[in-house]
């Protein structure tokens, strides 16, 4: 009787096929065993067809050695490690005449079994197994003996090799680990070693990455950067050099640092892109994409209290301006015809488009939908599942722009052309993928308006937009216009630049406040580092040192600490603050609400503690509610021609928590004074930023031009 052993690592997707095969094996007098690396109950197969058992070792029976072996082993070898610990399975594979892997993950286990049972056939798949069973498997004795010797030698050699490799790996890991790299002598020695001549690039790059990683994790970032940069200088391959420097930069970003070698990595990727550009635009695009990915990393701009972009935007993007490949992405392609004037014989066809985020559009859509002389359509590029992927890949857009032509471009054209043909004017909200995609094809005589809010200025998307095909760029504040033009010089030579306030219906915030709201500070939105709620907490502490009636209400969703390591670090400190202040009743988290006007009714002082804002609707809404506004001079823009100080009345803006506390003490000294200052703020907000006032800016933009 022939013994067949089938190894399966997951319940087969075609159980019927397995059942039929088992029936065929039985009809040929074969005894079949199915060894499962999953709960054998899942198979649900008639037990008379085969002996079915699970061989996975339960986690509670793992000893330290087994656990360590599993940690080191590649995924599919882990299954064999389980298999070889099963006495039952050992007996089965030793006596089997035919070993069968039911799925790809079981192949290695069967391969190992076949090394130990050299007499058995070993197949992958059920039909090949049936053929093998039907075929004549008798082999000459010499051949079998040869196979047995070779297999035994192989098992021994692999064991010895594996042990030797493991020893070398362990020794090297220890020698280049954090302990050694935290020691100046160790770091110096290894840095010299990594830069020694005649080391192949492949080894030098691995060593450099390992040394950098160990040093940075040991807190010796400078030593790590030195090791990586010194070794990288010795690497002749542009791709390998870029890879080493990028890995080093990424490690530091993961740890929440601004990498010391950030610009070296960006330059290396751009040099690689420039080199590849003439012969392989796909790879060139991948390299530019990596450079942008490094420079737009959220750790640099969004999860810390400073950003190298705001400090010196020109210098930060300088490497991109020096790169041929990066410049090609922004190269103006122009349009065949200029935008046509608005039609006079029929309603204006206005397409308002965005990608997912339509938070700033309801008032605009409502106004123009109500106008008989405007026909409005709305398009969210995310809506259609089929076309959505076209809007989600920056690297594909880069690939297309570098190649000059691609099937991707044709698909975008096919998707957006009907919209371009229909519309007289397209209002693109957010200067991201939507703007890049709508300027990929020639927009013809359709007028293109793009609105840039804030985060986009720190991102790569605006660099993929062809501004020679854009007629107007709208900013929500002067300081965002300043930052954007510093980052995107092409803006100054093409589209009209306008600053139009966000569309906000502020009337609904005017409600009477109870007297005890005077001592209640409020923040609308505190979920990100950029909002810096701890700055407000510091203000609160200063107030409470003198008067414990002051408290703080945080309105909005909780702080998101999952975005990155710095966000996590910030979240930990914020949680410590909250753990201390919430039990005292000094801080209350209001939670997320759809009725912000009601939440603001109990807020007497509205605080904007952000490090970066384009406008800060929450603050303005608070002011409109009659709360006393206190605005931190947003550090990203402080000291520049435009910022919080030019956007708001001078007395709203403060330099420091101490100054904020002083302003609050003064403004809330008496109830009358608090109400008077709050009233003045509300009047200013309403007459400056209410939609009834600001809509004229949009009318001029959309209807007059």
């Amino acid at each position: 009787m022939t013994a067949v052993l089938i190894v399966a690592t997951a319940a087969p997707k075609q159980p019927g096929v397995l059942v039929e095969a088992l029936e065929r094996f039985r009809s040929k007098d074969a005894t079949v065993t199915v060894a499962c690396f999953f709960d054998s109950e899942e198979l649900g197969i008639d037990p008379t067809l085969a002996e079915i058992r699970t061989f996975a070792v339960p986690a509670e029976k793992w000893d330290a050695r087994f656990r360590k072996a599993l940690e080191r082993a590649p995924a599919n070898r882990k299954i064999w490690l389980h298999a070889r610990r099963s006495t039952w399975l050992r007996q089965q594979y030793r006596r089997a005449d035919l070993l069968v892997a039911l799925d790809a993950r079981a192949v290695h286990t069967v391969w190992q079994m076949a090394q130990r049972n050299t007499r058995a056939g070993a197949c992958y798949g059920l039909v090949p197994a049936q053929k093998a069973l039907a075929g004549n498997r008798s082999e000459p004795v010499g051949k079998r003996l040869e196979r047995r010797v070779a297999a035994a030698a192989g098992i021994g050699a692999r064991g010895a090799r594996s042990a030797a490799e493991q020893t070398i790996r362990t020794t090297l890991n220890k020698a280049t680990g954090q302990r050694v790299m935290s020691n100046p002598a160790g770091a110096w020695l290894w840095t010299r070693a990594a830069a020694a001549p005649r080391i192949p690039d492949r080894l030098r790059s691995k060593l450099a990455v390992r040394l950098h990683d160990s040093a940075v994790r040991a807190g010796r970032t400078a030593a790590g950067a030195r090791a990586a940069s010194t070794a990288a200088q010795r690497i002749s391959s542009l791709a390998t050099r870029a890879d080493v420097l990028t890995k080093a930069a990424k490690t530091e970003l993961t740890l929440g640092h601004q990498p010391s070698g950030l610009h070296d990595a960006i330059r290396a990727q751009l040099a690689l892109a420039d080199d590849l550009l003439p012969r392989d635009t796909k790879k060139a695009a991948a390299a530019v994409s990596m450079a942008w990915s490094l420079s737009s990393n959220r750790v640099l701009h969004f999860d810390r209290l400073t950003s190298p972009m705001s400090t010196d935007p020109g210098a930060f993007v300088a490497p991109f301006r020096a790169s041929t490949a990066a410049r090609k992405l922004s190269q103006p392609r122009g349009r065949l015809t200029p935008a046509a004037p608005a039609p006079t014989d029929r309603p204006l066809r206005l397409l308002v488009t965005t990608l997912i985020n339509d938070n700033f559009l309801p008032e605009i859509l409502e106004r123009y939908r109500a106008m008989p002389n405007v026909e409005v359509r709305f398009l969210d590029l995310y809506e259609d599942e089929l076309t959505r992927p076209l809007a989600l890949s920056g690297s594909t857009v880069m690939e297309h722009l570098l190649a000059g032509d691609s099937s991707y471009g044709a698909k975008v054209e096919e998707w957006l052309r009907p919209h371009l043909d229909w519309a007289d004017t397209i209002f693109v909200d957010w200067c991201q993928a939507t703007a890049a995609l709508f300027t990929l094809p020639d927009p013809g005589s359709t007028r293109i308006i793009v609105r840039l809010h804030s985060f986009e200025a720190f991102n790569f998307w605006p660099h993929l937009v062809d501004f020679s095909r854009v007629d107007d760029v709208v900013f929500v504040s002067d300081h965002l216009r300043d930052l954007s033009t510093a980052v995107l010089p092409q803006l100054t030579d093409g589209p009209r630049l306008r600053v139009i306030d966000n569309a906000m219906d502020l009337q609904r915030y005017l409600r009477s406040k109870p007297a005890d709201a005077r001592f209640n500070l409020g923040m609308v939105g505190f979920s990100s580092v950029a909002k810096d709620p701890r700055w407000t907490i510091e203000v609160l502490r200063k107030l409470r040192e003198r008067d414990e009636r002051y408290r703080l209400t945080l309105i909005g969703s909780n702080f998101n600490d999952r975005a990155s390591k710095p966000a996590k670090d910030y979240g930990r400190l914020l949680n410590q603050d909250l753990a201390e202040l919430e039990p005292l009743g000094a801080v209350r988290r209001y939670g997320q609400t759809d009725d912000v006007p009601a939440a603001l009714q109990e807020v007497g002082v509205i605080v904007s503690s952000s490090v970066r804002e384009s406008f800060h609707c929450g603050l303005v809404e608070g002011a409109a509610s009659g709360a006393v506004p206190v605005v931190r001079d947003w550090p990203f823009f402080a000291g520049k021609p435009h910022g919080a100080r030019t956007l708001f009345p001078a007395d709203w803006v403060v330099e420091s928590p101490a100054e904020a506390a002083d302003r609050i003490f003064a403004a809330t000294a008496t109830e009358e004074q608090w109400r008077e200052i709050g009233q003045a703020a509300a009047e200013h907000a309403l007459k400056t930023w209410d939609w009834s006032v600001t809509q004229s800016g949009f009318d001029r933009l959309l209807l007059d031009d």
Binding site: P12, K13, Q14, P15, G16, V17, E20, A21, P74, A75, N76, R77, L99, A101, A104, V107, H108, V110, W111, Q112, A114, G121, A122, C123, Y124, G125, L126, V127, P128, R147, R158, D405, S406, S407
Partner: protein
């Protein structure tokens, strides 16, 4: 281009001209293309050529769709067949032949293999055969100088060997492109751009081809549009059917009380969802139509290859449908085709793709004289072929309810068809008999290569000197 242009003496001068025929899939491979390849070779022999077929070893086909030695019986004995020891490594199922590296990560290993292969020639699974094929054609040419090379694709790696012989010895060539390469016949549109690696290969090789054969007008149209300057060299050479595959259908009178037998024969190369629609249509028809409730549906052919041979979702669907009198009987040897068709009352033509797809089986189905139920897109080239067939249900797409109606319609046709209807159907198909299709194409190629009685200059004679390009 190489400077090693070394013209060899041709086999002309009173002897038979010699053609090398790159025909991977030649009998006994149990592949649908085997019939076309066999007929092409036989036609060349019949027109006075010596022909050397280059294909791959039989063991390679065992890994894929298997062998059918009855196919070889009709190969002209004068055809010389060379089998190269090439095999698709990705389809290996003997784990003892695996390296440890492959066993640890079979999927990753295949993916790396494909990357390596595509660096050699931009074609998945076959790219790695390039150098062996190049070596084989050059070796053959040295042993027996060729006047013509015919390259039948797929696999497209044949183009590399074709080019090699042209580049080194200026041997004129024709490409039997069948379904084409740069055309996505299933989805329609372009499969790759002209500036891609594949695109550059295609345009380079087609540039100098004496003739480019395609299996239908839409594909030929695509190539004429893509390469306007080659338009007059692009010809439609349809697939056809073989007379010996046809059953005797005269005097049939199926018994409605016993039910009918519907049949499908061919590779199950469509998606599980496609098959599910057809089976759903069958189930609905059985609920609504008492004759169908007593009827059977037999599926024959190949399902899957390598480790997933007959072990995929399609098999599950067919097994689930066993309660509805659906059965799967595996592949049918060529010699049993007529008997198999003869045991059926109506045929279910399941085809993927659209207007660019014809497939070979439509001709065979049509020529049987049995009712044909179309399960494919309405805008499919098969509809053009079947137009006018008196026992065709028409194409209704893949909606199960509409397919159910087609099943009933086919049953009605099977019961009511007269010998005259069947004869008309066969007569309509006659123009697609394989010799009728291939003989003119081979004759045309022969005339292009050899001087004609009218004295038209032969491109081969001049091309071999490298002075003039065809």
């Amino acid at each position: 281009m190489s400077n090693r242009v070394a013209p060899l003496p041709r086999s002309g001068g009173g002897q038979r001209p010699h053609a090398i025929y790159l025909a991977i899939g030649f009998p006994p491979a149990a592949k649908s293309s085997a019939y076309r390849l066999r007929e092409t070779a036989n036609q060349f022999v019949a027109m006075g050529w010596d022909i050397t077929v280059i294909t791959i070893c039989q063991e390679a086909w065992e890994r894929e769709y298997g062998l059918d030695h009855t196919l070889s019986e009709k190969v002209d004995p004068r055809v010389k067949v060379i089998e190269l020891p090439l095999m698709r490594e990705d389809l290996e199922t003997d784990i003892r032949a695996f390296s440890e590296e492959r066993s640890i990560d079979p999927v990753g290993w295949i993916s790396r293999l494909r990357k390596r292969e595509q660096k050699i020639f931009p074609e998945r699974d076959f790219g790695g055969w390039r150098y062996e094929l190049e070596k084989a054609v050059v070796q053959q040419h040295r042993q027996h100088p060729a006047d013509l090379l015919i390259s039948s694709c797929a696999p497209y790696v044949n183009l590399a060997a074709t080019w090699k012989l042209w580049e080194e010895y200026r041997v004129p060539y024709a490409v039997d492109f069948r379904d084409g390469w740069s055309l996505d016949v299933i989805g329609g549109g372009e499969a790759f751009t002209r500036d891609s690696v594949s695109g550059r290969w295609e345009s380079k090789v087609l540039e100098h081809a004496l003739a480019v054969w395609c299996v239908n007008d839409p594909i030929a149209g695509f190539y004429r549009e893509r390469y306007p300057h080659l338009a007059d060299r692009v010809h439609v050479v349809r697939n056809g059917y073989d007379e010996d595959s046809l059953p005797d259908v005269s005097g049939r009178s199926p018994d409605p009380n016993a039910g009918l037998t519907f049949g499908y024969l061919g590779s199950v190369n469509f998606t599980p969802a496609f098959l599910e629609s057809v089976l759903d249509g069958w189930r609905i028809a059985r609920r609504n139509d008492p004759i169908l409730a007593r009827s059977r549906f037999e599926v024959r052919g190949h399902i899957g290859a390598g480790p997933i041979r007959e072990a995929n979702r399609h098999m599950d669907l067919l097994k689930e449908a066993a309660v509805d009198n659906v059965s799967f009987g595996g592949p049918v040897p060529k010699s049993d085709l007529a008997a198999t068709y003869g045991s059926w009352d109506a045929l279910v033509l399941m085809l993927v793709g659209g207007r660019f797809v014809t497939s070979g089986k439509v001709y065979e189905f049509m020529a049987t004289g049995l009712p044909v139920l179309s399960a494919h897109d309405v805008d499919h080239d098969a509809s053009n072929i079947l137009a006018g067939h008196p026992l065709w249900t028409g194409a209704v797409g893949l909606d199960p309810h509409r397919l159910a109606d087609s099943f009933s319609e086919a049953a009605r046709m099977a019961l009511k068809a007269t010998d005259e209807d069947r004869a008309t159907a066969r007569q309509l198909a006659r123009r697609f008999a394989r010799p009728a299709v291939l003989a003119p194409a081979v004759r045309h190629l022969t005339e292009l290569v050899q001087p004609t009685p009218a004295g038209v200059p032969a491109p081969a004679a001049t091309a071999s000197t490298g002075d003039v390009q065809p």
